[in-house]
């Protein structure tokens, strides 16, 4: 088999695993968009904040220590103990749920019935707020996140592909884990929304706010629920990205790439988020692989957006989205 083809296949596989990561972030967007019609720009920062909080709990950092030190001249930094990961994750989930309650209480409640674009801009404000808040709470330096997931080259894939093609593909074990976790997440979300009472209520709200209200579903509870779930999805995405490349600000920029993923997959479709993520992941790796000699590297920065832009011109509702119908 020619080498180029093998390299291209490896790039495709890597793209698939990267795509899973994008899809993880995109899932959070879709959840909130379906339930409240809000395009949540803050999802990426939510992932960053969740990862920061997790690292903070794990290493026993004192929250706001920089601020307290600056105000009172103390020298606080750590409690001096490490929290086990199994305890730190539920603690972080509790923080994310608290955050969801606060967001509903202080932002969303006041913006009911506003235009979507106003809500969108409010979430941009929220993204900025959380970014600054996370940095003040836990410090801005790059942190390593380790929750005990395996890392490094996957030997099994290497051996298998070597036996088949005479060339071992390099796949990070972490990314295989990410794919597995994403699959579990999607399955459990689907089961939740299909078979539980809250899940049905959530779908009802997504369908029609007014009708849901009239049959006695509490909109505020549903919003808190959605934002909590989005927070938990953000935590999963944050753990995956954070274990891969450290917890740092660029995490929230990577999350921006979930936007083109959504456009490809459609804003209202969970399978769409997955498929869109995979297409973007594979597309940008292959494009970079073939075009690098021609136009130079780092095309990953913009390829996803350009693909989305072209795609929008032909199919604005995305691959799996509901058709946009406008009435005057």
């Amino acid at each position: 088999m020619p080498d180029t083809l093998l390299f291209a296949m490896e790039a495709t596989l890597n793209g698939l695993t990267a795509g899973v990561m994008y899809a993880l972030v995109a899932l959070g967007f879709v959840l909130i968009f379906k339930a409240s019609g809000i395009f949540n720009f803050a999802q990426g920062v939510l992932a960053l904040f969740a990862a920061l909080t997790l690292v903070g709990f794990q290493s026993g950092q004192i929250p706001f220590s920089h601020l307290i030190n600056a105000m009172f001249g103390t020298r606080l930094h750590h409690f001096g103990w490490n929290m086990p990961t199994l305890l730190a994750i539920p603690a972080t989930i509790a923080v994310m749920i608290l955050l969801a309650i606060l967001i509903e209480r202080y932002i969303l409640k006041h913006l009911v019935n506003q235009e979507p674009i106003i809500l969108f801009m409010a979430t941009i404000g929220l993204a900025y707020f959380l970014e600054g808040f996370g940095d003040i709470m836990w410090g801005a330096e790059v942190k390593a996140l380790d929750v005990g997931l395996p890392k490094g080259m996957s030997g099994a894939v290497d051996d298998m592909t070597f036996a088949w093609f005479g060339y071992g593909f390099y796949i990070d074990r972490l990314e295989l884990w990410a794919a597995g976790i994403a699959a579990i997440l999607v399955a459990s979300l689907t089961i939740f929304s299909q078979y539980t009472k809250q899940g049905r209520a959530l779908r009802a709200v997504a369908d029609d706010h007014q009708a849901a209200l009239s049959v006695g579903i509490s909109l505020r509870f549903i919003w808190v629920l959605t934002w909590s779930i989005a927070g938990i999805v953000a935590l999963v995405a944050g753990i995956m990205w954070g274990s891969k490349s450290g917890v740092q600000f660029s995490l929230s920029l990577i999350a921006l790439k979930a936007l083109p993923v959504l456009i490809l997959g459609g804003f209202t479709s969970i399978p769409g988020a997955i498929v869109g993520g995979l297409i973007i992941g594979v597309g940008e790796k292959l494009f970079d692989f073939f075009m690098q000699p021609v136009i130079g590297g780092a095309t990953e920065n913009w390829f996803a957006y350009m693909l989305a832009l072209v795609f929008l011109l032909f199919r604005p509702q995305g691959l799996f989205g509901e058709r946009i119908i406008e009435r005057v």
Partner: protein, 358 residues
């Protein structure tokens, strides 16, 4: 009592159509202009020019441009930073290709180049809107910045990848480069700002502006009453990008002097200008001034307070600043969606009745 719109009678169409038809507004405007042109240059020094006044003037131009697009035509754009970069790199290429061309014309031409690029990226707005369009403009942001950092032609193959503005003179006074004095920098930015603000004010109250507003309020209804959406949206993109391009060209040539696309015109610039427009007031010329002033002066004040007075570390102050800006955006969207401009309107209402409220 103090502020009156009544009793101001016009005897000609010309008087009725002037830029500020109300006498009180007009005198206030003359006063501000006189202050800006005659008084400020006497007192301006390097510190004031570099930290507050010149950035304020330049970002006001960008905010005016974005306000035309978002506030008047209702098309959300997150690519402002990249369009500023087009203005900057356009002026750089023009300056180096035609060394004899006057800098004023270079900046205006850079504005036209940006307008062209803006129209190109505005084309999708004919089919998509809202945050779909926002994502499309993100494509402009990332693609253009990549172009300017990775394609050597744009930075004239300089080894550092930076572009730097050579010294250029207007009427024998250096306005760019290291020799430019604070007064010269201030004056050239002020001249551009005043003429562009006048242009924006008159465009938005004329036929074009009304078309934009019709599209913003309801595009399908606007189409039915005979507004051509193609023309309205594309002109909004063109005019907006023209303003933003000039602001980028001024930012690079006059203020920064040397720039690197990814650093000087990143996505944070897009958000900064967007925040200026939201805080200042969507769909208001005064709002662009107020928002820019708020977001330029606010951080400087905060830094003075926290770092210089309280002695906090700089990074902590920077994080607090981001947090406060984010919170302010939310507060403004909830409490006063029309921004500082609406507060100003309320003050005018109060002044009208003062000192005899009902």
């Amino acid at each position: 009592m103090l502020y009156r719109e009544a009793g101001d009678f016009k005897t000609s169409y010309g008087a009725d159509n002037q830029t500020f038809p109300i006498r009180f507004d007009r005198y206030g405007y003359y006063f501000v202009l006189g202050f800006a042109f005659l008084v400020v240059p006497l007192f301006i020094n390097d510190y004031w020019a570099n930290s507050i006044v010149v950035p304020f003037l330049i970002y006001t131009i960008a905010a005016l441009g974005l306000n035309i697009l978002i506030g008047y035509c209702g098309q959300l754009s997150l690519g402002t930073g990249a369009f500023m970069a087009v203005g900057a790199y356009g002026s750089y290429k023009l300056m180096t290709a035609f060394p004899d061309l006057n800098i004023v014309f270079v900046i205006i031409l850079a504005g036209f180049v940006t307008a062209g690029v803006g129209v190109l990226f505005g084309l999708p707005s004919l089919r998509i809107k809202g945050f779909y369009l926002a994502v499309a403009t993100l494509a402009a942001q990332f693609f253009l910045i990549w172009l300017f950092t990775r394609q050597p032609w744009f930075y004239n193959y300089s080894p550092t990848g930076m572009i730097s503005a050579p010294t250029r003179e207007v009427f024998g006074v250096a306005v760019t480069g290291p020799r430019a004095s604070a007064v010269a920098m201030y004056m050239i930015c002020l001249c551009f700002l005043v003429s562009l603000a006048w242009l924006a004010r008159n465009l938005t109250r004329g036929m074009l502006g009304r078309q934009w507003m019709a599209i913003r309020d309801m595009d399908i209804a606007a189409e039915i009453i005979g507004v051509n959406p193609l023309m309205a949206k594309l002109t909004a993109f063109a005019v907006s990008s023209f303003f933003v391009g000039i602001s980028g060209a001024l930012l690079f040539t006059v203020y920064l002097g040397a720039a690197e696309a990814g650093e000087a015109f990143g996505i944070d610039k897009s958000f900064l200008v967007l925040f200026m427009v939201i805080i200042g007031g969507l769909g208001s010329i005064f709002g662009a001034f107020a928002g820019a002033a708020f977001l330029i002066v606010g951080p400087v004040m905060l830094k003075l307070l926290l770092v210089n007075t309280l002695g906090w570390p700089t990074d902590l102050a920077a994080h607090l600043e981001i947090m406060i800006i984010g919170a302010l955006i939310i507060v403004f969207l909830i409490v006063e969606p029309h921004g500082i401009a609406a507060l100003w309107r309320t003050i005018k209402e109060k002044l009208r009745l003062w000192p005899f409220p009902y």
